[in-house]
Structure formats: structure tokens, C-alpha cells
Symmetry: C2
Subunit: 225 residues, 2 copies
DNA sequence: TTTATGTGATAGTATTACTATTATTTTTGC
DNA sequence: GCAAAAATAATAGTAATACTATCACATAAA
């Protein structure tokens, strides 16, 4: 039984945008089509000019929503982290055993993304491809510290914190919970990228999702007392 | 006893440059100063115009060495992989026990970089900072497949292969050697970046190099039969 | 001493990442 | 149903970037 919750939106830090893209048709169009274009051509080849042309609007109009393409990318990535937290919370609700809960959480974090019809104007499959190829670029800049101070990376931190807590529930003396979780999240992205483009840097195994299995195994072996 | 090998150079794939920067004074100046500038201001804010001004040359002259700043970055990163391989080979030579050899290899891959006076015009400490903040950008582009076909990423692959082989020596049935090694290398970079800019995504522990210890422990626990 | 090679000087182009201004349309409040 | 306010479109312009092209000059190798 699939339940579609229509009164559900992912909140994104309002310092990222000038005008909430969720609040208008044009805004939603910007999100939908920027996802398509960035997924297709990468953030480097994406410009507001091209997007404006595609959605038959103007550059100036887009700049009323986001002050730069970097901010737009930040918006998309942050939306994703918010969505992941929502999936994590839903996916692990009512699971008593912390070990089972951890395994479920790791699965959510590392598995390939499938369509989620709850949020209509966002294509989560394409967005997850963007996250794989572009997300590290949002923090590997000289403005990190600045943006970090504005709380722009808190959704990501919250996600890491969330899973770290489960780990500490299982093994309260484990020394590196955050390091372990962020290694898993970032690693899962990179490994999927490698599998597609630089396969000799990873391992793919027929009949299993090597990424999910590898990182699940990794965490369990690491936190064992 | 420190031995300085002056007749030693790191070879970089000649498809990356138009003219070998090692072959002239101007070339070496380009390398030395581009490392300084990119480390300081990041690749996004680095331009050939600025570099030309700093070394009192012209944009056109720089373009005779590298056809784009992306290629220049590729050169630097590839130099680094070549240098790491050299350090790995030297550091693990004559170690019989594969477990000890693996531990040494992991240390080389994950520890913080110190000055190496063997290669005069390259500041390895600054270069390693560039690798931490910028290296993923060289393959997270839409030209990966193209560049990969030209063999531009082989030094990285060779490094991964090298360590993978040690792992298989210890446990021939281990399923994910490449994934494990690339997770370690990429992870070490990201964790050092997080420690400096987004500390809540990692763990730092007084009196120990948490990155080296975490990843060494991780590998050993993972490959145990 | 010629010739090739490397470097410098200068100029030019298409694109990008914006900002500014004004006109037009759409929405909303009464 | 209309005026006021808000949103969007149209148009123009700027500084910087990422190059390409051309020609002159210096120097070093043949």
C-alpha cells in the first residue's frame, strides 16, 4: 500500500535563495529544469542564460530567485539532504533493535535512488545523479567557512549526527562515529561514480549491490567491540 | 642520513601538456607559481592572466604550455600521484611481511605531507593541500570518459592497484580491494578537509592522527578473514 | 650565419555572470 | 470590477574569463 502525502514539502534554508522557488510556478520550473540540465551537462556547462531560454523566461527573472548558479546548486543539494533525512526518519521509525536500525539507515544512505512521487516537481533520480557528480563542489570552495557560518551545511551535519547516534547506541565507546558516517556517505557517491567512469578504482560484483554491501559490512566490522 | 637524489624526476603523461614544463625555466616557474596561487585562492579564482602577471610573462606564453587551466590542474594532480607512487615504492621496499607492508602503505597514503627537497620547484606541502581541495574536480567533469581513454588517470589507478595487490596477498578472497583502497585515499582527503572546515562531519582526537588511525584500523578490520 | 625555437606584445572574440532600468502582465485587496 | 502592488519580461550594458591569432624580437643550435 503506497500512501502519497501531498501536504509534505522539504524546507530549505532561506539564506540560500532570494525568493522561495516553491512559492511560484516559475520557481518550480526553475527547479525542475535546472535539475534536468545540470544532470545532462554538468554544473560547469549550465548557465542561467540557457535555462532562461529553455523555460522561456529571462536571465533577470531567474536572478530574482537565486543570486548565482552556485546558490541554485546549493539549494538542490540541500533539498536532497533534507529529503534523505526524511527518508531516514521514516525508514527507521519504530525499529527497536539499534543494529537493525543502523542497517536500515545505511541502506537508505548507500542504495541507488528510485523515483519518489511524493514531491512532484523534483526528479529524485536525476537529482541523486547530480549529488553524486556535483555535491562535493558545493563545499570544496573558498567560501565554505562563510557559508558554513550561515548554517548552510546543517542538513548534512544533521544527517551525519543522526546515524552517528545510532552507532553510539550500539557501541558507546566507538571513537570515530562522524568520520565513519561521512566516509560512508561520500564513499558511496564516489564509488558509484567510479563504477560508471573509472571502474578500475572500484569493484562491481554481479548479482549484488557492492556499494551497499561493502559499506554496511565496513561499518559493522568497525564498530564491533 | 638523508639522501638527496637530484637525477630524479616525476614523469607526467605527455597528453596533458603542449610543451613539457620541466623543459624550461618558464615552465618551472609556471608550476611553482601556479601551485602557490591555486593553494591560496582555489582553482576557481585562478586564471592564466593573473599567473602571467605574477611571473611577468603573458597569457599567450602560458597557453603554449597548457591548453587550459583544467589541463594545468591535471598536470599538478598527476605529478602528485606519480610522486605518491614513488614514495610508496620506496617506503615499502624490502618489507617482507605483507601486513607490515600494508600498514606502511596506508601510512604513506593517509598521513599529512611534509616537505620533500628532492624535487626543487614543487612545494609538496602546498600541492597536497591542492590535492585535498581540488583533486576530485579533475574527474568530476563531463570529459572524464574522454580523458580516461587517453590514459590520464592511470597513475591514480596504478596507485590503487599497487595497494590492492598487497591486500590480496594477505587475504586472496577479499572481495572489494579496489573499493577499499580508493575509499581510503579519497576518504583521507575529505576527512582532512572536514577537520579544517566542517569539523562536525569528522572526529579529531588529541594526541593522535585520527585520519591515519581510523583508516588503518578500517582496512585491517575489513580484510580480516 | 642561418634557421628554428621560444617568448613577448598586442589585439580580438565569444561567453559568462552578473546589474540596472523600464515596461508589461498578473494577482490581490477592497 | 478596479486600483495598487507584486511578479515577470524585455532590453541593455559591464567587467571578467577563457581562450585564439598575429607579428616582432631574442636567443641558441646546426
Amino acid at each position: 500500500m503506497e500512501v502519497i502525502l501531498t501536504n509534505f514539502t522539504i524546507q530549505v534554508n532561506d539564506k540560500i535563495y532570494l525568493k522561495d522557488p516553491d512559492s511560484s510556478d516559475l520557481g518550480k520550473k526553475i527547479i525542475r529544469h535546472s535539475i534536468e540540465m545540470i544532470e545532462q551537462n554538468g554544473i560547469e556547462n549550465f548557465t542561467f542564460g540557457k535555462l532562461a531560454k529553455k523555460i522561456k523566461s529571462t536571465e533577470a527573472s531567474l536572478y530574482r530567485y537565486f543570486e548565482s548558479k552556485h546558490k541554485l546548486l546549493l539549494y538542490l543539494i540541500n533539498w536532497y539532504w533534507g529529503w534523505m533525512e526524511y527518508k531516514l526518519v521514516f525508514g527507521t521509525a519504530n525499529i527497536e533493535d539499534p543494529l537493525v536500525r543502523l542497517q536500515k539507515a545505511l541502506k537508505v544512505l548507500t542504495e541507488t535512488i528510485e523515483e519518489d512521487r511524493t514531491f512532484s516537481h523534483v526528479n529524485e533520480v536525476k537529482l541523486s545523479q547530480i549529488v553524486i557528480s556535483e555535491s562535493s563542489k558545493v563545499y570544496l570552495t573558498k567560501q565554505v567557512d562563510d557559508e558554513n557560518q550561515k548554517g548552510i551545511f546543517t542538513p548534512y551535519k544533521r544527517l551525519v549526527e543522526h546515524v552517528s547516534k545510532i552507532i553510539l547506541e550500539i557501541n558507546p565507546s566507538y571513537k570515530y562515529p562522524h568520520m565513519l558516517v561521512s566516509t560512508v556517505i561520500e564513499g558511496a557517491h564516489i564509488q558509484r561514480y567510479f563504477a560508471e567512469h573509472l571502474p578500475r578504482l572500484t569493484n562491481t560484483i554481479k548479482g549484488e549491490d557492492a556499494v551497499v554491501n561493502f559499506y554496511t559490512e565496513m561499518v559493522l566490522k568497525n564498530i564491533r567491540q
